[in-house]
Symmetry: C2
Subunit: 199 residues, 2 copies
Amino acid sequence: MPDQPALPFTFEVLYGEGITLSQFDNHIIRRLSNMKSHFLDNAAYEAALAQEDTVLYEVYEIHRPEIPGELLHGLSIVHPGKVGNEYYMTKGHFHTVLETAEVYYCLRGQGCMVMESPEGDWAVEPLRPQTVLYVPPRWAHRSVNTDSKEDLVTFFIYPGNAGHDYGSIEKQGFRKLVVEVDASPQIQDNPRWLPPEVR
Amino acid sequence: MPDQPALPFTFEVLYGEGITLSQFDNHIIRRLSNMKSHFLDNAAYEAALAQEDTVLYEVYEIHRPEIPGELLHGLSIVHPGKVGNEYYMTKGHFHTVLETAEVYYCLRGQGCMVMESPEGDWAVEPLRPQTVLYVPPRWAHRSVNTDSKEDLVTFFIYPGNAGHDYGSIEKQGFRKLVVEVDASPQIQDNPRWLPPEVR
């Protein structure tokens, strides 16, 4: 006889001034101090941090066994703001098991997902309410909030065995940055980025 | 060198009188005539079919490779109605790879998910707008629309290698039925259902 299977469950996405979940197992809070070296303008970063260790983004996670066949899921909230002219964003990561995808459903806000493959291909896709984004296997991904006032809120789902690999992103960042130019978001080259063959 | 990876993509969930997707690869339409033997009251089924071969539910699918690490996803729409006193519902199925989960995000309507394990455990969870349902590995699942007027619309995500196994459900149905009694949904035993040990 197999063990009693895990029971099905439901929870609610609660819409209010903010969006949250009626039930979750883990609440991650990422502040400016957790994001050292992620923004290009380090002087602006240090100046902002000296003022206040602001919360940049939050993640609510539902725990499931970290094995193939299970689906990890939860809510991501990137607050509005900038460091220098670079918009608030998540750290971004590859999956440790590279050949695993992720689905994002955008619930609120305006922003984009910055992505790149280990070979140095890049892509930026828009995120608006009711946008579904498919991040295929192999693509690192980072959410960026390009709105000046509203949170960027997404619901995400990825395979239980995917894991998170922050290593190469923390070292040099993504190939592309999303910055504000003349009050509009613009995609720019990241001068710190090196192509895979010269790293 | 690996092949060029698949490109990320986005599409929109379009809200109107109905809900649909801005982009999809496959549109499945299930009519009364596709649902023979799924409803308990066969006389009511034949009488309804003699009137009109009504559309009971529709599924919009996004194609991805059917392998582990990919995520299949799309939109499910169960229309309102009954056959006898049993609400319109999907056929329901196990995953062929039994140890795979599924996430449902309810976008519109009122209904429930009827589930059961191969061991005969059962569960019924409510579906309302903004409800997230986790169907753990091993649970067969069927959506039921218990509203009299509105579609039940859910967005679903499951592992690329899951597959669909309709076999045992088509033979005898789920252990529990959802029927209307005094204008309200009620969970009842399915008299055709047999426990695993006596099948």
